[in-house]
Amino acid sequence: MKDRIDFRLLGALLRKNRREKTSDFRKGHFNAVGFVMRLMLTGALIAVFVIFFGKFLDMYTGIKTDNALAPQERLYELLSIVYGAILIALVLSGVSKINTSLFASDDMRVIAALPIGANTLYLSKIILIYLSQLAVACVTVLPTNITVAVHCEVTAAFYPLTVLTCLLLPLISVALSSILALPFHAVTAALKERFVVNFIVITLLTAALLFLYAYLLEVVKELLLGDQMRYFFNEKVMDAIEKTAAYIYPANLIADILLGRRLLVSSLSIVGILVVCTLVSFFAIRGLLMGSLQSKISGRSDFVRRPKGHARANSPFVAMLKKEFLLIFRTPSYMFSYFAVAVVVPLLVYFCMSVGSSLALKLIAVDSNLELAIFLTLLFGTLGNMFCSTNISREGLLFYSLKAMPLDYRHVVFSKVALCMVVTAVSQMLSAVLLAATGYVSAANAAFLFAIGVLFGFTQVCVATRVDFNHPHFSTEAGGEIQESGNTSSSVIVSGILLAFALGGALLLTKMYFSLRGLADAYAYLTYVISACFAVVSAAGAVAFLLVGLKDKYYRFGGGGAR
C-alpha cells in the first residue's frame, strides 16, 4: 500500500507537540527566572553584535582594493561569510535535533505503535525542526540585515528578500542536516554504550572548540592592544576573503539575491540544491526512521558487553558513590554538562587568564594575577557546579526506592555531595596547576587558589543540593533525563556569578586602590585574608544550610511532582 501523507494525522501530531511544549505554562511549572535570564542574555548578545557589526561594517566597506572603493563587493563578501556561519550553525544544530527527535525521543515508542505512516511521521518531525530553526534564523539574520540596511545603501527589495532569507536558510539547513544525520547517527549509535570513548571524544571536541575560541580571543586582544585593525585587512587577507566568499555555497547565492546580483542563476541554483538535498534526505532518513521505529519497539541493544564477575564488596556509602558516578558517566548529556565541562573549565580559566592578565597590566598597570585568577576560578567553577542543582531531581522516582533501602539519609545526600566535591577538586587542581605551570601564579599562590576554589565549590554544592532537595523536579519518564531543576539551576548559577563578581571585584578594586598609592606590597596580605574569610564563612554557612532539618525533611520527603 502506498504510504500517503495524512494531513489530518499530521495536524494531530503537530498539535500534540504544541501541547507538550506549552504544558509547563499550563501546569504552572514554568521556569520564569530561567526564561527571563535567557531572554536578557539573547537581547544583550544581539545588542553587542549590532553595535560591533555596525562599526565593523563601516570600516570593512571602506576598505580599498586596487586603490578603489567597492562597497557592494565588500558587502557581498561579508554577507556570504555571515550567512555561511549561520548556515553551518543551523546545520550542526539541525543534525543534533533530527537525531534527537527521530531516534532518541521517547514519544516514538508510543507513536511507533499507532497507525501513522512513516511519511506523515517524518514530515511532522521535520516541520517541528524547521520551525525551531526558523526561530534561530530570525534571531540571527534579522539583526544582521537590519544593521546592513542602517549602515549601507540597499534597494527596496532587500527588505522582503530578508524575510525570504529567514525562511530559506532553515529550509536549506534542514535538507543538509537530514543528509548529514545519517553518518552522525551511525557514529553516535556506535559510541552509544562505549562510555569511555564517548567521554574522550566529547572532551576533545569541547577542548578543540575552546582552543579555537582562545585563538580568536588572542587575535582580538592583539588587534585591541596593538591598534592593528586597519592593517589587518591587507592585500593577502582580502584576497583570501574574496576567494572564500566565491566558494561558500549556498550562502553566497543568498547574498547574491539579497544584493540583486546574478538573480536568475542564483535563484535557480538554490532551487536545484534544495530539490536534490530534499530528495536525498527524504529517502535516507525514511530508511533510518523505519530502523529506529523497529528498535524502539523491540528496545534491544546491539552492544555486546564483556562478561564481568561480581565487583569487590563495598560499603553502602561507596556503593552510592559508584552508582552516582555510573548514572552521570553513562548519560551523555549529564556526562557533558558535568565531567566534560569540569575537564575544560581549567582551559577556560587559563585562556581568559592569558587575555585578562596582559589586558589588566596594560589598562590599569597593576599586576593583579592572583586576584584575577580567583575571580576566574570562581566564575568558571560555577559553570561546573551548576550541575549539582539536579543532584536530587536527577534520581527521579528512584529517590523513593533509595528511601526504602536501609540507607542512612546522610549516605544518600552526602554521597552526592562527595562525588561533586571529587569532580570540583580535580577541576580546581587542574586550574591551579595550569596557572602555576604557565607562570601566572606562584606555586604557593596556586595552592591557595586551589583551597579557595574547593571551599567555594563546596559552598555551591551544599547549597545547590539542599535547594534541589527542598524543591525537586522529577522526570515523569523512567530513567528520564533532567537538564535543570526548575528555578534551582538558574538561581545557583546567578548566585555563583554574583559571588564571583563580588569577591573578584572586591579583590581587584582593593589591589588597584593600594597599587595607585604605592602600597601594593604592604597590603598584599589583604587578598589572602579577604578571600580566606569569605570562603570559610560561606562554606560554614552552606554546611549549616544543608544539614539543618535534613533528617526530618528526608523522612517527610514526598515531592518531585511525579508521585
Binding site: S301, R305, A313, T331, Y400, A478, Y555
Partner: protein, 251 residues
Amino acid sequence: MAENNMPVAENVVTVNGLWKKYSKRADYAVQDVSFKVNAGEIVGILGHNGAGKSTTLKCLEGMLPFDKGNISICGYDIVAEPVKAKANMGFVTDDHAVFVKMTGIEYIDFMSDVYKVPQAIRQTRVDQLEKVFCLGDSIQNLISSYSHGMRQKICMMGSLIHSPKLWILDEPMTGLDPRTMRAVQDYMKYYASIGNAILFSSHALNTVAKICDRVVLIRKGKRVDELVMSEFADRADFDFEEYFLSNEGQD
C-alpha cells in the same frame, strides 16, 4: 546480615491504625488500616485501582511519610529505627523502578552492597535466583536495554539478594511471561515455607487465591475485610472472584 537482625518476633509486620493523606488531596488515601503478617505467611492486599494498596505498601517500605499510626518490621519501628527495619525487607515497586544505567550484574552488586551481603555468598545467591528468573547472559547488559518483564525480574532478584525476612511486592505479576509467573508463584510459596513473610498487592485474583494464606481487602483507603484462605479451601460454593466483585460494589 539481614536475616540475623530479627529480634523475637512472630509478627514480621505489624501495621497499627495507619492514616495517610497526600498534601494536595482533601481526603485520606489510607484510613485507620491495621493488619499483621506472620513469619511463614503469604498475605495479599486486594482492592480496586486507587483503593490505597500501593500507598499502604509505600508507607510500609518507608518511601512515604504517614500521618498517624505505627508500622513495625521484625520488631523495628519504621520511623524510629528505619535502617534496621528496612534491612529486614526486600521490595519490588509497581513501576519496577531500577537504575537503568547499570548492567544487571552491577545492579545486583549495588543491592548487595547496600544490604551488606558478604562477597563470599553473592555468587551462590545469584545462581539460586537465576534458576528462578532466568535472565541468562542479559545480566551483563545495561538495564536500559531490558524489556518490561526483564526489568521486573532484575528488580525481584535485587530485592531477594539479601534473603529478607519480609518480601514486599507491588503488582509483581505484571509484565511477566506465564513460565516466569509460575516460577515466581512457586518461589513465593517456597520462600514463605522457609520461615519468611510475603506481603503483596495484585489484581490477579487467581494468583491471590492460589498462593495466599490470608487476604486483606481495602476499599477507599479502609480495611473492609480479611479472609483466611484455608477456611474456603474446601467450600465448593465459594467463588473468590465473585466474592471480590460483590465486595467492590458495596458502598
